[in-house]
């Protein structure tokens, strides 16, 4: 029998658990104790960055950066999977094992819950296990697919209806949950039953925040300024201005300038769709901001075009259809020639591989997490699209937790508090040394 059931023989479980949601864009990390209050997680950029002056920032040092122009990134997580351990180790050392770090911990006395994207390559998973035990030497370790942890949050409280008895305590993990995780690298759709993924129904849509940012970069570079070296800034523009359109065709008409000689009057403001993004100059203005489009405002671009000085102090990007055609890629990837269906169809495709009897349960419990779900109008549009595809008898509920970025981490923290469940799922260092990496891989793989 597996040795973890004979608990008396092993050492006592570590008091603290480092919950690490190791995303491609940011690490969500925090130390969780069994009986201490759960702290808010630190959100650490998962990158090495180099600015114009060749200064290199590691992880959270990025917040000390003053000038983000032409900043370059090296990310250890590629396509959602932890690939480059040299860089990742550097970041982890800096954030967790440096004596000055705010999350300092001694791995020999700490457990680790580490997330990974579903459907990872076995070689990368083995690398991960080896580094966790042999390089860092964590006392206990659980590698888990990130969507799974969301089942350990109280998902019913996210849905507004039906009203719930406030006294009832949620049982974790959630029984049935369709989780959509739309992150930096990709969007994954995972049906979860009792906190376990149904592996055969997991789908991945290769559209993530990075692709959206790069697409916006391309549009802006073609139409206005060359932003190709400023993806950090374009990402901020995307987060500040993009929205998912409720009526794509109508919005498109509003933002068209019209044929030559027949300019549409609606074009200038486009019924409020046109927005100006004032670019930072990293001297007086360290951060850009959005405001409604003002056709009369003096901008540097106009000065350049007209060749006369108007005393403009601002560089402004005017965004019109860029605001909604960029997030539209999540719902219609063929717009850029990517031969995949949109999120709603992927959800239906995932369901189609499941018995019909489970459909009502999954359709009524759809939760979206990840940074892209913060885009305005995302949840509304997703619910509308799934509603139109799903059987009419089924209730479709789509909800987003209060903070979709840390929800996975929150689930991990809840799991870390549940000593019984965590002990069952994870692997101790002794077990690793006794049974080896192959055994650990099989245990985490459910095989």
């Amino acid at each position: 029998m597996a040795p973890r059931r004979t608990k008396s023989s092993g050492p006592p479980p570590p008091a603290n658990t480092l919950v690490l949601d190791n995303g491609a864009y940011t690490i969500k990390a925090g130390l969780v104790g069994a009986d201490t209050e759960t702290p808010a997680p630190n959100i650490i950029p998962n990158c090495l960055a180099r600015d114009r002056d060749k200064k290199v920032y590691i992880g959270s040092q990025l917040s000390s950066c003053k000038d983000f122009s032409e900043i370059l990134f090296r990310r250890p997580v590629e396509k959602g999977y932890l690939v480059n351990w040299e860089a990742e180790k550097e970041i982890w050392e800096h954030e967790f094992f440096d004596p000055k770090a705010s999350l300092h911990c001694d791995p020999a006395e700490t457990g680790l819950i580490l997330t990974e994207a579903p459907n990872a390559l076995p070689a990368l998973q083995t690398n991960c296990d080896q580094v966790a035990f042999e390089e860092f030497g964590f006392a206990r370790y659980l590698r888990v697919a990130a969507p799974t942890l969301n089942a350990y949050t109280d998902i019913q409280s996210i849905f507004k209806s039906p009203p719930r008895d406030p006294a009832s305590t949620p049982t974790l993990p959630a029984e049935i949950l369709m989780l959509i995780d739309s992150g930096y690298s990709h969007t994954s759709i995972a049906p979860l039953l009792l906190g376990r993924p149904i592996q055969s129904a997991i789908r991945r849509l290769d559209v993530g925040g990075k692709l959206l940012t790069n697409y916006l970069t391309r549009l802006l570079s073609l139409r206005q300024y060359d932003m190709r070296n400023d993806t950090y800034l374009v990402n901020e523009i995307k987060e500040a201005t993009c929205y998912v359109s409720k009526d794509f065709k109508a919005d498109m008409e509003r933002t068209w300038k019209g044929p030559k000689g027949d300019r549409r009057p609606v074009y200038e403001t486009a019924d409020g769709i046109a927005k100006d993004y004032v670019l930072p100059d990293y001297h007086g203005r360290a951060k850009g901001y959005v405001r409604d489009h003002d056709p009369k405002a003096a901008t540097k671009l106009k000065e350049m075009v007209k060749g006369k000085a108007m005393g403009a102090s601002e560089d402004v990007l005017t965004l019109r259809n860029e605001r909604f055609t960029v997030p539209e890629l999540l719902f219609s990837p063929t717009d850029i020639g990517l031969r995949q269906s949109g999120i709603a169809q992927q959800v239906m495709d995932s369901l189609s591989s499941l018995p019909m009897g489970l459909w009502p349960g999954f359709l009524a419990n759809i939760v979206v997490v990840g940074g892209n779900s913060k885009i305005e109008g995302f949840v509304f549009r997703l619910q509308a699209e799934i509603r139109s595809l799903a059987p009419a008898e089924c209730i479709v509920r789509v909800a987003r937790p209060a903070d979709p970025v840390v929800n996975t981490w929150q689930g991990g923290a809840n799991l870390a508090k549940d000593e019984e469940a965590l002990g069952r799922l994870s692997v101790t260092r002794q077990e690793y040394e006794e049974y080896g990496a192959g055994w650990v891989a099989r245990k985490f793989g459910g095989r």
């Binding site: 597996a2 370059l72 390559l121 039953l193 995949q340």
Partner: protein, 311 residues
């Protein structure tokens, strides 16, 4: 020769090579007509037969643009790890690293490298594995439940939910949500056993959480419930074995998990956008096949449109 014999390879339509063979070929040979067209100008932009088929040139362009959208930085850079951190001076030592870990840390493989390694590896014939190491899905087992019922006996009682309609609902099922099934939690089935362990049947299976019926209030019965036009039909819940089988399925590979382009979406025309302003692309450039919205944008486009090879 067209293009000096160079043909683009990024092609969804596999064009047969024009090769030679001593066979009488009386039919129209597509590869020959492709190489010796009547008009030389449009070889790579031949009109395609089906809705979504693209010419080789368009296809290459799409692939190139998608690759560009996938990049981390606009240009290739290497940001080395700062050197002062490489010696572990003044830091917590994690002990001596093993050769395997050193190899991992020094590896500069990208995800694409790992993926092609994996693809090459999985295309190899599988060597016969010793069967002891992987106990076949210990999850699918009848759990001795409180009532002592075998799984087969619980199955029909589950289907009471299957035909759930208002007319069938009596009040006592409402007040006590029937435990529908017993499904073991993650631990039991996901526990592979060490190689020398005893048979898996001896694992004690603690009572698992259930898929409950929910505790929401059921609407009051209504005389219209029996109306065949109003009855709502809920599909039968799958049996416990079926759910266990679903949960025990091994993970798919990276490529298998990629979401498909479903049939309904293939039937829809692909939306085309103006390459200049982003409005609907209603006009096609004669030179390159790119889309623009109207004459004004076409003029802008043609200033830069050049039909160099590969562009």
């Amino acid at each position: 020769m067209i293009n000096f014999g160079v043909r683009e390879v990024a092609n969804s339509r596999a064009t047969a090579a024009p090769g030679w063979a001593y066979v009488p070929d009386t039919s129209v040979n597509a590869s020959v007509t492709a190489l010796q067209p009547s008009s030389r100008t449009r070889v790579r932009n031949q009109p395609t037969a089906s809705l979504h088929e693209t010419t080789a040139k368009q296809e290459a362009k799409i692939l190139r643009e998608l690759a560009a959208l996938d990049r981390e930085n606009h240009r290739d850079v290497s940001i080395p790890v700062p050197i002062r951190h490489k010696d572990n001076a003044g830091r917590v030592s994690h002990g001596k690293s093993t050769p395997a870990v050193r190899k991992i840390l020094q590896s500069q493989k990208t995800f694409a490298n790992h993926l092609s390694d994996f693809e090459a590896f999985s295309s190899l014939p599988v060597p016969s594995q010793p069967t002891v190491s992987t106990p076949a899905a210990p999850a699918v087992r009848a759990t001795p439940t409180l009532t002592g019922l075998a799984a087969a006996a619980t199955a029909p009682h589950l289907t009471s939910k299957g035909t759930r309609s208002h007319k069938k609902k009596d009040l006592n099922t409402v007040s006590t949500p029937t435990p529908l099934r017993k499904v073991s939690t993650a631990s039991q089935s996901s526990t592979p056993l060490p190689i020398k362990s005893e048979p898996s049947q001896d694992i004690p299976m603690p009572d698992a959480p259930l898929l409950s019926q929910g505790n929401s209030t059921i609407p009051t019965p209504h005389p219209g419930d029996k109306d065949p036009l109003l009855v709502s039909r809920i599909p039968t819940m799958p049996a416990q074995e079926e759910i266990e089988k679903l949960l025990a399925a091994p993970p798919m590979t990276y490529n298998e998990a990629r979401g498909p382009w479903v049939y309904e979406d293939r039937m829809k025309p692909i939306r085309q956008f103006c390459e200049v302003c982003g409005y609907w692309g209603r006009v096609k450039c004669k030179g390159c096949g790119g889309r623009v919205c109207a004459l004004e944008c076409l003029q802008v486009h043609q200033e830069e449109c050049f039909t160099r090879y590969g562009a």
